[in-house]
Subunit: 210 residues, 2 copies
Amino acid sequence: MPASEVPDIVIGRLPIYLRALDYMAQEGREIISSRELASYLGISSAQIRKDLSHFGGFGKQGTGYHVQYLREQLIRILNIDREWPVALVGVGHLGSALANYQGFLHRGFRIAAIFDSSPSKIGTVVGGLEVLPVERLGETLRATGIKIAMIAVPASAAQEVADMLIEAGVRGILNYAPITLSVPDGVHVQYIDPAAHLQHMTYYLGRNGR
Amino acid sequence: MPASEVPDIVIGRLPIYLRALDYMAQEGREIISSRELASYLGISSAQIRKDLSHFGGFGKQGTGYHVQYLREQLIRILNIDREWPVALVGVGHLGSALANYQGFLHRGFRIAAIFDSSPSKIGTVVGGLEVLPVERLGETLRATGIKIAMIAVPASAAQEVADMLIEAGVRGILNYAPITLSVPDGVHVQYIDPAAHLQHMTYYLGRNGR
DNA sequence: TAGATTGTTAATCGATTAACAATC
DNA sequence: TAGATTGTTAATCGATTAACAATC
């Protein structure tokens, strides 16, 4: 298992490289050098070459990287040469937006089950799917083998939902609630917290926006 | 300017510490040790103490940190002891969700202007604000002194919108479009790309979700 | 006081960068 | 071939951790 030795920070950059390659492919580029990709992403070319070298040699000396070939390799490495069904819990403004977002589809994911606890939402159709009561979360996830979920419920309910998801076999959680989740080993959590990003920026903007 | 020496990675953790302290305060905690905070966040206590030491000594030996006091200090350091008006460009599903999101308010931000290019959206009211045509972006931002913006338009329009925002004086951009933006020095960009986070997780889940 | 925890230093660890031989 | 760029090694840089004196 050479995979487990690759630093997590490197893994986190692979989707960014893939996203850039998608863009390059769309622009009609067939070949790209690490120097050009680095310039586009605002990082060093050495970092790109080093990151990729963890998985093999995908380029040609003197030429660069074949865009489509490297795309395919990254897709394989990231295990998205398949479509992952994803569960969504919480159908407020944000949950609805996620359910209707088309951007997941061409990047390996499809929302396949949606849950909420509110009687006013249960039974409605959002993003083409019927909203199910959270009581049916366990059976549904186990039946469909869903391993990934997105949490879009209030912070006060997020930990409880996470516990249910994990109990139902979920191994990866994308958490939109502004709270740190407690999860057992082997469960991967990623956080989306736009306010935290804004606060990161205001540090540099100074008290008065300079 | 001691601030500029503090590593960016440290700055990025401060909002997470603040978020945890908000939670602790809500739980009624008055004092917390670096050890307990670290356990809650899943990091080391030494890291928390080291990070905070860049800005001063906020704790008491033998006791720990006063939750409210440390909160106030982080709020001051992050320059959110004021309310930042934020512009939102793009009122699709995601933009609407952001416009209606209440979570920004108690964390230092208020959406103060909303723009879209679609005639069907211009003039409608979203999140209590009238949607303005992008043509009025420049004048509006300059008049209000808005320095921060969120981009929620399709990837194909994001760079153009970013250029307009920067031209209008924006210094911080939270970009939801899955594309890397090209910006001049002094403009801060943060990215929100949920699909990238999901791809990060599928690397570890293996080809079959293990 | 005794016990506990901070703030800080020094050591360790890991990531990034520079440089270049290999090679297309 | 000559020119260009990769893949990789070694050096540098920076971040994390361990440890403990200071001190509440």
